[in-house]
Amino acid sequence: MKSFAPIALVIAVLTAVPLLVHSNVVLNFLVVALMIALAGQGWNILGGYGGQYSFGHAIFFGTGAYVTAILQVQYGINAWLAFGAGIVAGAAVGVVVGWLAFRAGLRGSYFALVTLAFAEVLRILASVAPITGAGVGTLVKLDLRFAALQFESRALFYWLILALVAVALVVTYAVERSRFGAWLTAVRENEDAARALGVDAVAVKLGAMVISGAITAAAGCFYVQYFLFVDSHIAYGAWISVEALLTPIIGGAGTIFGPLVGALVVKALGEGALLVTGQAPGLDLVVFGIVLIAVVGLSPRGIVGLRQQLGARFGSRRGAGEASRG
């Protein structure tokens, strides 16, 4: 994307929503969708732009969530600081996992597997370690003060998560426009060729993993402040790994708005499925899975890409050339 204007416009429109809509149900839906979008925006940096498909982004979500919760509950640290520490912890975990995985040269299936395994190890450790509250989980005390980063009104929570999503949008925009972003895309398209041209692939992927980890961790930190509870299944469970990957893939991997579009569509479909079947478990995820397969099969660049694809089909010849390369 060349210009910053669409991002500013989208953020402005989304900021106005609570002024027009007062329904808590709608706001709650949007808060959760934006939280998933944020987790997906993290995945998108590494997976969408870098082509490194992580199947275990719960590593970051869970770490952010636990650090935020544990610092507050066990050490009495201010919620804002704990929130920041959670994001930093996500980046730090990104350094460790990324350094191990990329230095060992893991790609494709292997990288997907090792991220999955790390998430699983952390889940099991969190379910037995005393500091995480083991099987019981950690409960953050209800304290509806601004200083405790808890708000009585849904709208404030909404603006908080929207601000985080906006920051992630700007970061993605900056990455896309930067030299680093060009290296990252080069690594995605052909790692060996990128190396041959002097791109330090390991360092580039590591950088992407750190940014990615920090953003997805922020979603985990927010989860704790919003729901005031975390346990090992929420933090490191497969659900968040799947949703963090689902939203950018469906919305459009490697595009700025992909995760946001994907999250809104996925969550709306999920709610729709639950409405139709009267809250029967499982059906919403069946829909997600089918949409995932359909999107991969029909429009590899997601919903955002579909628009470009259709535009190309009915538009100029130059556009058609671009889409067929994508």
Binding site: G51, Y53, F55, L100, A101, A104, G105, L106, G108, S109, Y110, A112, L113, V114, L116, A117, F118, E120, V121, I124, L125, S127, V128, A238, V242, L245, I249, T277, A280, P281, G282, L283, D284, L285, V286, F288, G289, I290, L292, I293, A294, V296, G297, P300
Partner: protein
């Protein structure tokens, strides 16, 4: 140190459990060896096969050891169709897309089962579930012993298919050199689908062998599939003997580490091995051509 009285049965039990793991891993490694992707739907297919075995017993009254002869061919067909009409078509030949499609399939199958049968845990009662053989110094459970033998039978059948039949030769050709195989007139899409079918049939056999002593719920397969990933990586992706040996090793490691660390941490032992192998020797202990 623990006495041999505890240690030896733990070892033997580990070997017997490992045999079933090996069977699950066999299907996974076969698919990896030819298609070069990890099939993330493997666990969900295992669960589906376990449900099939459960209903074959509950509704039709067929013992799992007999229904395996129906369920395995049935799942061969399911696997064939999935690869031919879903994974193959949707992935446009891109590895990354195949990973996503198999993950999508896993989500669909697992949650369709959850939607259809709820989260209840189900078991079947067979007369031989608790039968044991007295070895003098320890007891061996009969169903696990059957599983142990079955692994080698399945591995032998696979080996025979691979080395003696035309389709086996075609599969090996595609695994080695896809383009060359295509140029010599081999239908690669068909070979992929047959391989996926064989891998799925392996999982169906494992499901039937598990049902007499295990339970089934919509998430039951996941526990096995993560272990199977470990085994496949340990044994070398695509290596059949590696899968069998890796399976037995992991069974023993799990059994011993549960003994020393307790049940939930015993699992961590497996994953730490997994991560260590991935990082240090991603081609696996027995794999040379990764």
């Amino acid at each position: 140190m623990l006495s041999p009285v505890i240690l030896i049965p733990a070892l033997l039990n580990g070997l017997l459990t490992g045999a079933v793991y090996a069977l699950v891993a066999l299907g996974l490694t076969l698919i990896y060896g030819v298609l070069h992707i990890i099939n993330f739907a493997h666990g969900a297919l295992l669960t589906a096969a376990m449900f099939a075995a459960y209903f074959a017993f509950k509704v039709l009254g067929i013992d799992p050891y007999l229904s395996v002869f129906i369920i395995a061919p049935l799942f061969f067909a399911v696997g064939y169709a999935l690869q031919r009409f879903v994974i193959g078509l949707a992935s446009h030949g891109e590895d990354r897309n195949m990973l996503l499609v198999t993950l999508g399939l896993a989500v669909v199958i697992e949650n369709a089962l959850l939607f259809g049968f709820r989260g209840d845990t189900r078991t079947i009662d067979v007369p031989y579930a608790f039968q044991t053989i007295d070895l003098g110094f320890t007891y061996l459970a009969v169903p696990r012993l059957v599983g142990f033998v079955a692994v080698f039978v399945v591995a032998l059948i696979l080996w025979l298919i691979m080395s003696l039949t035309d389709i086996g030769r075609a599969i090996r050709a595609v695994a080695k050199e896809k383009l060359g195989a295509q140029l010599s007139g081999i239908d690669v899409a068909h070979v992929y689908a047959v391989t996926f079918g064989l891998g799925t049939a392996c999982v169906a056999v494992a499901a039937c062998l598990l049902m007499p002593t295990y339970y089934v719920n919509p998430g039951a397969g996941n526990a096995f599939v993560l272990i199977a990933f470990t085994i496949v990586v340990l044994g070398g992706m695509g290596s059949v003997p590696g899968a069998v040996l890796g399976g037995l090793m992991i069974g023993v490691v799990e059994s011993l580490s549960s003994l020393f660390l307790g049940d939930s941490l015993g699992q961590v032992g497996i994953f730490l091995i997994f991560i260590a192998v991935l990082l240090v020797r991603p081609q696996g202990l027995f794999g040379a051509n990764a």
